[in-house]
């Protein structure tokens, strides 16, 4: 097991016009031993490049990568004691499941008897003993994922690197795979770095989340911290579905989650209420909840209610809505950064 750390890690590519483009721009990240760290960000934000640098598939332009307190910048992937699961699972199409799992063991020149023992162990954990003779093309998406995981754990790596491993699964299968994967990581206790653009995966699985945008880290924290106390407007709108409402007020931006936005008439106590005029325009009924789309001061805003709540509102007519003070986040209008303290 090992810690993973990056120090001022930077990767510069050459753009189309020959200009430098920073895919990763000076990232400092310290991942604890056994931690499940999620790198979350929109596509093209640099999270995959960061992961590939940790894995040794890309060479950093500057900065250091440390695995277990050793600088590994110049080590090729095979010398880093890591395992990686790609988005495509990258199973070797010409080998059956058994030989796929055996592949890293053969590279390490492990004796055949020992290989067999390790493969049976890994296959047992992931429940794929029946699939060992099959070829990858005969497997379902979920089965492929398990084979890829088995291949990853079979040689007891110090670190797992997972690059959007659930994105090829359908929505239903993804929910259960999420659960399986997290259980599995908790039991095996290996340091894991997980890249995704899906906030639900990030919130549900990560011990901590690093939100990345344009090659830089915007915020690192537990899912609760990231959701409840976003460090800037990017994080505020990237997490949450629907995202946080942002409304300009005086010289700052006010942010509030749709679930914290409700008609003033429904408030019990009124002493900590911040009133806002909401013009509802359209309603979406989603079964367990309903979303009301409208605007506040000419800016799009959304309110979210449990379906059980009864609402008396009419499209196009202004209603007095409110947000409780502790649910209101304030951001700098210039930088988008969070303003802390009373306001």
């Amino acid at each position: 097991m090992a810690t993973v750390e990056t120090r001022k890690l930077t990767k510069e590519f050459t753009g189309h016009a020959g200009e430098g483009v920073f895919a990763v721009n000076g990232i400092d990240l310290a991942i604890k031993d056994g931690e499940f760290m999620v790198l979350l960000g929109p596509s093209g934000c640099g999270k995959t490049t960061l992961l590939r640098m940790i894995g040794g598939l890309e060479h950093p332009t500057s900065g250091d990568i440390l695995i277990g307190d050793h600088i590994v910048n110049d080590l090729p992937p095979r010398a880093r004691s890591i395992a990686m699961v790609f988005q495509s699972y990258a199973l070797y199409p010409h080998l059956n499941v058994y030989n796929n799992i055996a592949f890293p063991l053969r590279a390490a020149k492990m004796p055949r008897e020992e290989q067999k023992k390790q493969i049976e162990w890994a296959a047992g954990i992931l429940g794929i003993e029946e699939l060992l003779k099959r070829k990858p093309r005969q497997l379902s998406g979920g089965q492929r994922q398990r084979v890829a995981l088995a291949r990853a754990i079979v040689r007891h790596p110090n670190v797992f690197l997972l690059d959007e491993p659930l994105s090829n699964l359908d929505a239903q299968r993804r929910a259960s795979a999420r659960d399986e994967l997290q259980q599995f990581q908790r039991r095996i206790g290996t340091t894991t770095i997980y890249v995704t653009h899906d906030q639900v995966e990030a919130m549900g699985m990560g011990d901590r989340i690093a939100v990345i945008d344009k090659g830089s880290i915007r915020q690192i924290g537990t899912p609760e911290e990231i959701y409840d106390e976003p460090a800037d407007t990017f994080v505020a709108t990237f997490l949450g579905s629907p995202p946080m409402n942002l409304v300009k007020r005086d010289d700052e931006i006010l942010g509030f989650r749709p679930e914290h936005f409700f008609p003033a008439s429904q408030a019990g106590s009124t002493d900590d209420l911040v009133p806002l005029q909401f013009t509802p325009l359209r309603e979406e009924y989603l079964g367990a909840e309903r979303l009301v789309y409208g605007d506040v001061d000419g800016v799009r805003a959304i309110a979210r209610f449990p379906s059980t709540t009864h609402l008396e509102i009419e499209a196009g007519h202004k209603v007095d809505f409110a947000v409780r003070r502790q649910h209101l986040k304030r951001f700098d209008i210039e930088t988008g950064l969070r303003r802390y303290g009373a306001g």
Binding site: G55, G56, L57, P76, P77, R78, I82, A83, M84, F86, Q87, S88, A90, L91, Y92, P93, H94, F103, P104, A107, A108, R151, R155, P280, L281, R282, E283, V292, I313, E314, A315, G316
Partner: protein
């Protein structure tokens, strides 16, 4: 919640015919189209295959049947009133009384070594151009491909000089040295297409799993490139059998000639043509090559289309 949106109305169409559809004329049209399709296909098949049919027929003709003067009976039949039955004598003559089998052997040896040299040089080059070279790989690949277009008819004079400097004149090894000049460019290009279609993931996974870059190529890329390698083998082999100009320019002794020059220069003596044997010599080589070529056709075409066709 009620919505207050303006409905959209399209502008009215002032004039013009609508789409008319008459089932009966449509059916007639379909039958007509079908007939046109089959007759066109038939025409082209006859145009393409007739010479071969006549060549094959000739092989089994007896002399008296073929060389009739004036021609009174159909040369296309064996069982006409005046025709004579088919014979295998011409094949026997070709195989045992001529140097045909020597030419075949020479061609096979040249083809084999051409294939080996092509694979050894084109595979690493194609891999390097697709994976290890950044942006200029594709451009250099196209440049190498264009070398394929430089014809033997432009190069054979200096080539003859080079071959005699190498002391290879009149030897089949001169052809082994020269043939890769046109197989390597095309095969490098073909293989680039193949390597591009192999997912990088698999290769990187092999590196993660404990192999060096080179090890990953051997363990993960090569097994997946088998179809590409087969294509290259077939293509360079057939190209080397097709070649004529270099062989004609470099090799003059009968014992070292290949099929394409041996058949066309040695089986024709003065005014006496052994037409049946000549046709047999051509067909015996031509048909197997054509079948082989046909099996790999789609892959060759992918190379020929320069990436202007995707999918």
């Amino acid at each position: 919640m009620s919505s207050q949106l303006q409905p959209i109305a399209p502008p009215p169409i002032e004039s013009g015919p609508g789409i008319s559809y008459n089932p009966r004329t449509a059916r007639a049209k379909r039958i007509g189209a079908r007939a046109a399709l089959y007759s066109t296909a038939m025409f082209f098949v006859i145009f393409a295959a007739m010479p071969f049919a006549w060549m094959i027929l000739t092989i089994f003709k007896q002399n008296a049947d073929l060389y009739q003067q004036p021609m009174q009976k159909s040369p296309f039949s064996f069982w006409g009133e005046l025709n004579q039955p088919p014979t295998l004598e011409n094949l026997r003559f070709l195989l045992w009384d001529t140097n045909y089998l020597v030419f075949v052997k020479n061609s096979l040896v040249v083809g084999f070594f051409t294939v080996v040299i092509t694979l050894l040089l084109a595979m690493p080059a194609a891999y390097a151009l697709t994976r290890l070279s950044g942006g200029w790989g594709e451009s250099l690949g196209i440049a190498i491909f264009l070398v394929y277009l430089i014809p033997p008819t432009l190069l054979f004079l200096p080539m003859t000089r080079i071959i005699s400097e190498l002391n290879l004149k009149n030897s089949i090894w001169s052809l082994v040295v020269v043939y890769p000049t046109f197989t390597i460019p095309f095969c490098t290009w073909l293989l680039m297409g193949f390597f591009k279609s192999i997912p990088w993931d698999v290769e990187e996974q092999a590196m993660i799993d404990g192999y060096s870059r080179f090890g990953a190529i051997i363990r993960a890329v090569l097994p997946l490139s088998v179809p590409g390698i087969l294509t290259v083998i077939v293509f360079s082999f057939t190209l080397s059998l097709h070649e004529f100009v270099y062989s004609l320019a470099f090799v003059t002794s009968t014992a070292n000639k290949t099929i394409s020059t041996g058949v066309t220069t040695e089986l024709i003596r003065g005014d006496i043509y052994f037409w049946q044997a000549l046709m047999a010599a051509s067909v015996l080589v031509a048909i197997p090559i054509a079948i082989l070529y046909n099996l790999f056709l789609d892959r060759f075409i992918a190379g020929f289309t320069l990436g202007a066709v995707k999918g």
